[in-house]
Symmetry: C2
Subunit: 347 residues, 2 copies
DNA sequence: CTGTTAGCGCTTTCAA
DNA sequence: TTGAAAGCGCTAACAG
């Protein structure tokens, strides 16, 4: 039988309360008794029962990471999760992991939250990652569960602080990318993605703003009828070549699209960066696995996760005190996929 | 204030015990009272308090997925995790996620288990994924925590059932791969990996057995001084070309190595599968992103996860009744990276 | 500074 | 079939 706090108290010749106090580092215990208690704890190999403590304190010290509407944890969210785990474990919280799947276009009213969230007191708070509809986030919050969402993959969100959320800011990195391409001599930089997806739409806006600032004309190719990033890349290349308009650089919506673009180009005999430059977005691990290595806008994924955790823990300890959106910057990582435009080739 | 079971009991005009009985579907409650209780539950919007139940039942219904000694959740383990999550959520268990890092070569005695495991009663059982030393798995088990390990990444394991574990069997898929290459006309198939890593060593053994069965001579190139799969692929190609021995097909230890091999070959002007065939291992998502698409031995990652969860849950409900190793088969998935060997090129 | 005691909300005998 | 009551192991308020 596991020893309980009563056994420790008896052995140390003190009351349960005192044991509890030294266990939790509460003040007001003489060093002498504390030492005696610690000795007893060691002697019995005692470990507190987590469930009992949770019941008494009415809190679980558990944080739930929910991945919504994704088939599995891709690299991006794996790294976000890592950031969350890191922060939580330092903060003495454990992490529960759950998948959630619901129709993103359907009626948010009819969406049922995962059991872990619906169960009262099961977790202290929730981090909503993956793709979520903003109304569903609100629904969770209304359930009385503290919650923070990963902002950039939110659907139907009109402004940053519509729900408590953590975002990456695509602007600085995108701007750097355009500045870099422009400095290389590029004037025909085309954005390729599917801008019906909000995150790509925001990237496009950042791209477009930066282009205008540098006196360049934004140009877009958007493949709107698929969410398969590989396909987006392939078809974008197809369209760009069919277009016949000059394009010396392609700014892809993310790295998967970028890698797919590079492959599609190479299948058509176009070499990156000699014939055309490519920059990606996310700075995922595949950037260094691709050939040439991909220049990409770095998204601080672990930081994003850590910020979600920090924000949530703040909300848990002081609800109503903190709210809104938190934003972390992006920046460009230069590798080998860009070069000055070729003068002799009319693409 | 949240309604408690007492509120429900009072409203329904019954005892707490009765409410508990209907809540848990226990027999021996008349349909009439049960209906009354359910009505009261609905009326109050009552949800049971998980922590209280856990304390009373002395179980947590929580399963912990521990990822050991990995920098983050790569695709492979993401899919294993997905399998675990799926099975657990169907079994009514929640999943806690933890990272664990310890020196794999050091003294297992000095390794401290993650807090979540050390805390008594915090979770009902543990799935140890990632790379673990078999002694550390034993140490966890000795702690009195039910635990199942992912077998293939175990270090220092002398036989399958040394600890309770779930494995994929590299034999059938590997055999299929060799048979397939042989049927294409290949006789010089070389295995490339780092066989100082146990999983690659097992792959090599399966490869070697299959080669012998088909009357072919096993040939190996092993890069033993790095665990960086990309580097292994690159240097393996280098060595193979330096070797000057005939090689018409390369069987890579895993897909990352295979993709790296393909790239290294192409940088040297060798085209896959025209000049040389390549097969990978794992059948990861990148197989269809690579060009050509990679023929690979499929490892059923989600099944692996589900089996771990099933095994663990069995162990939890009947400890000492079940033990040993469980093995799931692999099979070959043919894509575009193999072709008959070129007769005219001496590689 | 420290012991005692009353919960936390649920499950589970034990009688009835 | 059901109610009452005794825990589960811990925290926290209250006396002393």
């Amino acid at each position: 039988m596991e020893p309980s706090i009563a056994d420790v108290a008896k052995l140390a010749g003190v009351g349960k309360g005192t044991v509890s106090r030294v266990l939790n580092g509460h003040p007001g215990v003489s060093e002498k008794t504390a030492a005696r208690v610690r000795q007893a704890i060691r002697q019995l190999g005692y470990t507190p029962n987590v469930q009992a403590r949770r019941l008494a304190q009415k809190k679980s010290d558990l944080i739930c990471f929910v991945l919504s509407n994704r088939d599995f944890l891709h690299e991006f969210h794996s790294l976000v999760l890592k950031g969350v785990e890191n922060y939580c474990s330092k903060a003495g919280r454990d992490l529960v992991f759950a998948l959630w799947r619901y129709p993103l276009d359907g009626n948010p009213e009819s969406v049922v939250p995962p059991r872990i969230i619906a169960n009262r007191g099961s977790v202290d708070g929730v981090i909503l990652a993956g793709a979520n509809h903003v109304e569903c986030v609100k629904a969770i919050a209304k359930l009385g569960v503290q919650c923070v969402a990963f902002g950039n993959n939110l659907i139907g969100c009109t402004h940053l602080s519509e729900v408590d959320s953590v975002w990456y800011d695509e602007q600085p990195g995108t701007r750097e990318a355009i500045r870099y391409l422009a400095s290389l001599g590029h004037r025909h930089i085309r954005f390729a993605a599917n801008i019906s997806l909000p995150w790509f739409a925001r990237n496009y806006r950042a791209y477009s703003d930066a282009m205008l600032d540098f006196g360049l004309a934004p140009a877009l190719v958007s493949i709107n009828d698929t969410c398969d990033y590989v396909e987006i890349g392939e078809r974008a290349v197809q369209e760009i070549l069919d277009l016949g308009e000059p394009t010396t650089a392609i700014f892809a919506g993310n790295d998967v699209v970028a890698v797919s673009v590079i492959r599609a180009l190479s299948r058509r005999g176009l070499q990156v960066p000699r014939d055309i430059s490519v920059v990606g977005f996310d700075d995922s691990p595949r950037c260094i696995e691709s050939d040439p290595q991909l220049t990409s806008v770095h998204v601080p994924k672990e930081t994003l996760g850590a910020e979600c955790a920090r924000f949530l823990i703040e909300k848990i300890s002081s609800p109503d005190k903190v709210s809104g959106a938190r934003v972390v910057p992006t920046h460009l990582v230069v590798r080998g996929s860009c070069a000055p435009p070729r003068q002799d080739v009319a693409l």
